[in-house]
Amino acid sequence: MAKTSLRRAQRLAGSAEKAVRAAAAPLRNFGFPYRAPTVPRGVEVPAEVTGLGAHYDTEWARRPLAAFARGVIAEGPIRLATRVLTNPEIVGHDRLSDLSRLDDPPPVIFAPTHHSHFDTGLMIRAIPTVWRRRLVVAAAADYFFDKKWKAVISALSLNAIPIDREVTGRASSDALTALIADGYSLVIYPEGGRSPDGWGQGFKGGAAYLSSKTGAPVVPVFIDGTGAIFGKGMKRPKAGRTTVLFGHAMRAGEDESTRRFNARIEAAVTTLGDEALNDFWTARQRAATGDNPPLTGPEYTGWRRDWALAERRKLGAAGKRRRERRAWPDLG
């Protein structure tokens, strides 16, 4: 009797173990259709439209409720973080006064240098109020829109619009053109991404192209100091000082090609960079002779390039500790 009961129990236990094993068996033990089909060799499967990346639809982020939430975020956390971490000095608004004082200021394209993720927060804070309310930011689709949660945060907090850095397509430019035509101003980083080594990069033609296409003027902007605060590769931010310097609004000449206009924008930002590190007059004199120090740094590589960067930062907002000397009149 006892032997029978033991056998029954063993059978039950065996059945339970079998059931658990079956339930716990990895899916890989099951083939198609429980799993995605394998792809035959030599066949290319077209990429599935995921709704992320450059295809992410940000329209919802421009609706009133989202715009209100963004206003709260911009005036709260972004403002606070910008103030505490970057302590910005914003100069050059006077150069935009002719446009900003109009009853209905036209949309403009802001083309700043790019060294840090803080640049966008800083720009949102620094841009004159008349353009701040209707402002979109061109953001790398492959970085800010590759995950759903990143896409939602970027679109909501920065009003970011995805642009494809890897594929030259019309989708991004059409979307931005439509937004500018709708009265939105745009922040677009002509360098295409953050500086990899602290020096600037060559300008891509996006801002010039959009300006030529829409007629919106380009405002060159030089941001100094964010690279030292949270540059590419830094694990955590280090609070410091920054300068955001706005230039005069620029429009393409009648017969000016996008390439030439882009070169002119780059030259204007380079002059602003010199102005930020030296002064207006020196920058203008050097601009006239083409001697403004290039944003892309010296030609040489290696430690000398890093050394030159450190020297340059000493002159800029990161190293600014100069006190103004009072000039007493010389009475002889």
Binding site: V91, D98, A287
Partner: protein
């Protein structure tokens, strides 16, 4: 489309009129059927592309080569600009001087000009504070030139750095800054707020010496100036133009840039000041009452601070560059287009509210001498043709006229009030008896050269400015002023406007005509 200025005949349904009273204002009911009020034209439209217009003016000047053709490497370039006495109130940044000078510097940099000096053309005015220079020139110019000592302020007492250019046919010696005289090119950036400003006056007063100024800043000249706003009938301007001729023949090449402003003077919430009283809506009336009552209840110092913090949203209406006299004639056309109002006939009594500011107290105190200067010097002279008030008529001003002076800006004014005015109010007598003592006083000279004080002789000039009005009027009454102070000025105090009109009737009779100069916007009466 801005409405032109006009003359309103006061009737029983006309509301009380706005009068300035220093740092506050009041509403005064003027007698019906014998009073009229002159309103200036509404602000003209400003230029939208200011930088573009300035550049256009520099590239296509009047009677001179384009500026780039005048700029060569190795040359000496001096840029002079008007001081803080213009504009009033100070204009919102960016100031037009900054825009002009930045445009000139862009061209100078492109031409490879290295030797550039910037000089604030103060004349005998006080040195500007650094923050005022920053306001006028912008941070970019200030930061580039001031630390290197290339941006500085004219010193009319620095005899080592003054030089005589020549002498006019009437024996007037033209003595100006040596740097200006020795420059290959002088660019002068003007703000022409009223018709008196600009032309040869800018250089021949702004960078001149006391000796040079004394030829035209004297009672005889100013009593024959009919008026300051009409340069063709102004003895002062005739003298300045004679000096200008000497400069043209023997001095440096001068490239003048003149800009004109509209009369959009007061930003919100003070914009009701520029409106016609019967057009005040509920918001304007509430703002007026709230502002007036609040200003009444706060300390005077705070009141001044509030009023001097006003920055005007002026818009630029024109810019011309090139040969000084040609440019100035174009400028005058622009100024008159904004300011002129046709007025039929003179009046027995002229009323005017005196504001908190005049050209000689930016950021400072409107002391009693400046009240006289503003009323009889500036506002009385706001005419072309004939004075608004007939000879022997009465001028009624409203101002608290406190015995209060800015000890840093106006040190010699204090002694002038206590010493000179106690002796005489006659410009000719004080010029003869007292002027030299004040002009050559070492302590005043030191304060002028190293601090922020007006030159020792400046209160005399402020007094002479009103010499024509003083000579012309049969009586001057100040409503609401401190009585002993008003009497020291040689005027009659009155508590209310009705009292003032009663007092005036002794001179001009009981049915005298009254004209009120509606001051918040600048205007020039073209009296036929």
């Amino acid at each position: 489309m801005p409405r032109p200025g006009f003359v309103l005949d006061v009737d029983r349904s006309t509301p009380p009129m706005l009068f300035w009273r220093g740092e506050n204002f009041s509403l005064e009911k003027l007698p019906a059927d014998r009073s009229r009020v002159i309103y200036g034209p509404e602000p003209l439209a400003g230029i939208d592309d200011v930088d573009g217009a300035i550049r256009e003016a520099l590239l296509n000047p009047l009677d001179m080569d384009p500026l780039p053709a005048l700029l060569t490497p190795g040359m000496k370039l001096t840029i002079c600009f008007d001081d803080a006495s213009l504009s009033l109130p100070k204009m919102r940044r960016p100031d037009t001087r900054q825009r002009i000078i930045e445009a000139v510097l862009e061209l100078a940099a492109a031409a490879g000009v290295d030797d550039v000096h910037l000089i604030a053309a103060l004349g005998l005015h006080r040195r500007m504070h650094d923050y005022e220079l920053r306001h006028v020139l912008g941070d970019r110019i200030f930061d580039a030139f001031h630390p290197r000592g290339l941006l500085y302020q004219h010193d009319a007492e620095d005899h080592d750095n003054l030089t005589v250019i020549g002498e006019t046919d009437e024996g007037e010696v033209v003595e100006i800054s040596k740097r200006v005289a020795e420059s290959d090119l002088v660019v002068y950036a003007n703000v022409n707020q009223v018709a008196m400003d600009g032309g040869w006056k800018s250089i021949t007063t702004g960078v001149a010496s006391y000796r040079c100024l004394s030829y035209h800043h004297n009672p005889a000249t100013l009593q024959n100036t009919r008026s300051l706003m009409d340069r063709h009938h102004s003895a002062l301007h005739h003298s300045l133009w004679r000096m200008g001729e000497v400069l043209r023949e023997h001095g440096p090449k001068i490239f003048t840039v003149e800009t004109t402003l509209n009369t959009d003077t007061f930003p919100s919430p003070f914009d009701f000041l520029a409106k016609r009283e019967w057009e005040w809506n509920a918001k304007d009336r509430a703002t007026f009452l709230a502002t007036q009552k609040s200003l009444d209840r706060i300390p005077l110092k705070m009141r001044r601070k509030i009023m001097h913090s006003i920055e005007s949203p002026y818009r630029m209406t024109g810019v011309h560059a090139g040969f000084t006299p040609t440019v100035h004639e174009r400028t005058l056309d622009n100024v008159y287009a904004q300011h002129l109002v046709d007025v039929e006939g003179q009046t027995d009594i002229l009323t005017m509210g005196i504001p908190y500011i005049c050209p000689y107290n930016p950021e400072g105190i409107m002391n009693p001498i400046l009240v006289m200067c503003m009323g009889l010097g500036y506002l009385f002279n706001m005419y072309r043709g004939k004075p608004l008030v007939r000879e022997g008529g009465v001028i009624i001003m409203t101002h608290p006229t406190y015995r209060d002076f800015h000890s840093v800006h106006h040190p010699s004014y204090i002694d002038f009030f206590e010493e000179v005015l106690a002796d005489t109010t006659d410009p000719a007598v004080m010029s003869e008896k007292w002027e030299r003592k004040y002009a050559e006083d070492e302590w005043y000279r030191h304060l002028y050269r190293t601090g922020n004080a007006y030159h020792g002789v400046h209160p005399f000039y402020a007094w002479y400015w009103g010499a024509h009005g003083q000579q012309h009027a049969g009586r001057v009454i100040i409503v609401g002023g401190d009585a002993p102070t008003v009497r020291r000025l040689g005027f009659t105090p009155a508590s209310t406007m009705n009292d003032a009109l009663e007092i005036a009737s002794d001179v001009v009779g009981r049915s005298a005509s009254i004209t009120h100069l509606h001051v918040p916007s600048v205007l020039v009466a073209d009296v036929k």
